[in-house]
């Protein structure tokens, strides 16, 4: 009898832990909303999203996050242009072409990148990549969106490679056998059959990579130059939404308008990453149902 009661209590605790994930998502959203909403009422949501100037400490203060959104967007697009083709090609090579013994080694090295703290990557970028970009492209500063894109591309690589590799590997053998039996070369089979069948998984990998890039903070803050202006080209300094929060939260008055504005940015980031991950999850489900 006593055992039954103990079991019942433990099972209740386990259930509570189970639904805790939901509680936290709601709490995070709620807290961001609570701080952000007051700001939207005071300042106006349209002026916030579409405002071209981010001057939080001038008077009157300007809290337009368009330059920050553009900064995040530019760096993210730049990173994708580099990381997606390289990542997908590497995933194809690792899963289908690499000799058996090397396969796991290659995969482990790519995954190692994910283990390196972003602040370390940022620092290495600062001492190597930034001066290189400055001399190579003859620009006044190497702290540009371009440098940030390269660094972020490396950081998204493990996500894109691992998940694409999973998707490519899980394409049924019979698909390949069918194509090869019809006389297609191995490459033709890979390109026309395997790649196509693995597409939902690859799209999910890219989405998750994008999610990672948008949310990256430290490395981006260290190498993109932190200029809150609408960038004219990829060789100009930019400031992302994440970097703005990280750089400015330390100096704000707790509970003040600037503090609330930063929560507003957090809310925008939360919504964007929610959508990106939601879509990624849909594609991931699609690729697993095969």
């Amino acid at each position: 009898m006593k055992r039954k009661i103990i079991d019942a209590i433990i099972e209740k605790i386990i259930f509570v832990c189970g639904i805790l994930a939901i509680v936290f998502v709601v709490l995070i959203f709620g807290f961001l909303l609570k701080e952000g909403l007051g700001f939207f009422q005071d300042f106006g949501i349209i002026k916030f999203i579409a405002g071209k100037f981010w001057y939080p400490s001038s008077s009157p203060a300007q809290f337009g996050i368009l330059p920050l959104i553009m900064g995040s967007l530019l760096v993210t697009v730049g990173a994708c242009v580099i990381a997606v083709p390289i990542g997908v090609m590497a995933a194809l090579y690792i899963s289908e072409i690499a000799p058996k013994g090397v396969k796991d080694v290659l995969k482990s090295i790519v995954e190692l990148m994910a283990a390196i703290p972003s602040v370390v990557i940022g620092f290495v970028g600062l001492v190597t990549l930034v001066p290189l970009v400055r001399t190579l492209f003859d620009v006044p500063t190497g702290l540009t969106a371009f440098s940030g894109s390269i660094m972020l591309a490396f950081m998204a690589m493990p996500t894109i490679v691992t998940i694409s590799e999973d998707a490519i590997r899980s394409v049924p053998w019979s698909y390949k056998e069918g194509a090869l039996a019809l006389g297609a070369t191995k490459w033709q089979t890979l390109r026309r059959i395997v790649l196509k069948a693995a597409m939902p998984g690859i799209i999910a990998a890219v989405m998750l990579g994008i999610g990672r890039v948008i949310g990256e903070t430290m490395a981006v803050m260290m190498i993109t130059g932190n200029a809150a202006q609408i960038p004219g080209s990829i060789f100009e300094p930019v400031r992302t939404m994440t970097a703005t929060i990280a750089a400015e939260m330390g100096e704000t008055v707790r509970g003040g308008i600037h503090y609330k504005a930063l929560f507003g940015i957090g809310l925008v980031l939360f919504v964007i990453t929610f959508l990106v991950n939601f879509v990624a999850d849909l594609f991931l489900g699609k690729s697993k149902n095969k």
């Binding site: 936290f24 998502v25 961001l32 390289i86 090609m89 072409i97 929560f263 990453t273 999850d281």
Partner: protein, 284 residues
């Protein structure tokens, strides 16, 4: 466009894919090489065990190492039991219904929230609302929520890998569901859960953004003595000396980066080796 023979086009494409793989790997090797090459000379016993001096431009990084260790240990001891219980619920109890689907969506979403947004949340709820102040505990709680989805996912994988027949055998003997989980499923899943936990420790040791406004201090002249202390932390310290302090000696920055990198890589390596070892030892 010239039409290549299928053979030649295969050869060219394979070369291209090979080059892409090299491109994906080289940065990792380069980053690790640069840090080790430039940082190794800074690592001395004194560097690891003394306080910073001259506005961090000399001396050691002991308080930052201890600060990071205390935040991380605190965080993992909060998140591991909760995460494992959640994994048990999802793998052993949950039915395929709406609630389970919402939980799964919540986990996916939590995993995708940017680390700096966790920092904001931690500031809002732990530092301000619960009045814990900027402290080890506030930082640890923030990191523990951030790491929860990872712990749940890895633990769930470990539980799932325990064959269903084990549970059936136990249940058919009249053992209750919880007893079966406690004495049959959990012990068999433990290696997988623990390797996941070590990987998580490695990951949160390097996180900077979530502790930026919840735990980390620019400089604290004494070592941490309680969980309500503000502390120095290794990743934040690296950020500060790499970007905020003028005329910082380069070898101290590289040395700090090397210590952080080694901490993280050693733990990751232990987890990977342990995983291989347990996989080999597994009886099923």
């Amino acid at each position: 466009m010239i039409k290549l023979s299928p053979k030649l086009s295969q050869k060219l494409s394979y070369t291209l894919l090979f080059c892409a793989t090299i491109l994906a790997i080289v940065p990792v090797v380069v980053v690790i090489f640069i840090i080790i090459k430039n940082g190794a000379s800074a690592i001395t016993w004194e560097f690891l065990t003394s306080m910073p001096k001259d506005g961090m431009r000399a001396g050691g990084i002991l308080p930052a190492i201890l600060g990071t260790l205390s935040i991380v240990l605190c965080a993992i001891s909060i998140t591991l039991p909760i995460g494992v219980c959640a994994a048990i619920y999802l793998n052993e109890y949950a039915k395929d219904n709406m609630l389970t689907r919402i939980i799964n969506l919540a986990i996916v979403n939590l995993a995708g929230v940017p680390s700096v947004v966790y920092g904001l949340f931690g500031l809002g709820i732990f530092v301000m609302f619960l009045k814990l102040g900027v402290s080890i505990i506030a930082g640890a709680l923030t990191l523990s929520i951030m790491e929860l989805p990872v712990i749940i996912t890895t633990s769930r994988g470990a539980l799932r890998s325990v064959p269903y027949s084990f549970r059936e055998a136990s249940l058919s003997l009249g053992v209750s569901r919880w007893q079966t989980i406690r004495y049959i499923v959990l012990p068999n899943a433990l290696p997988g859960i623990l390797t996941g936990a070590i990987l998580s420790i490695a990951r949160i040791s390097g996180e900077t953004a979530p502790i930026l406004f919840t735990a980390a201090a620019f400089y604290v002249p004494h070592l941490p003595s309680s969980v309500f202390d503000q502390v120095m932390a290794l990743p934040y310290h690296l950020y500060i000396i790499a970007t905020q302090i003028p005329n910082m000696p380069k070898n101290i920055i590289f040395g700090t980066a090397l210590v952080l990198l080694m901490m993280v890589l050693t733990m990751s390596l232990i987890a990977i080796v342990a995983r291989l070892y347990f996989r080999k030892k597994r009886k099923w």
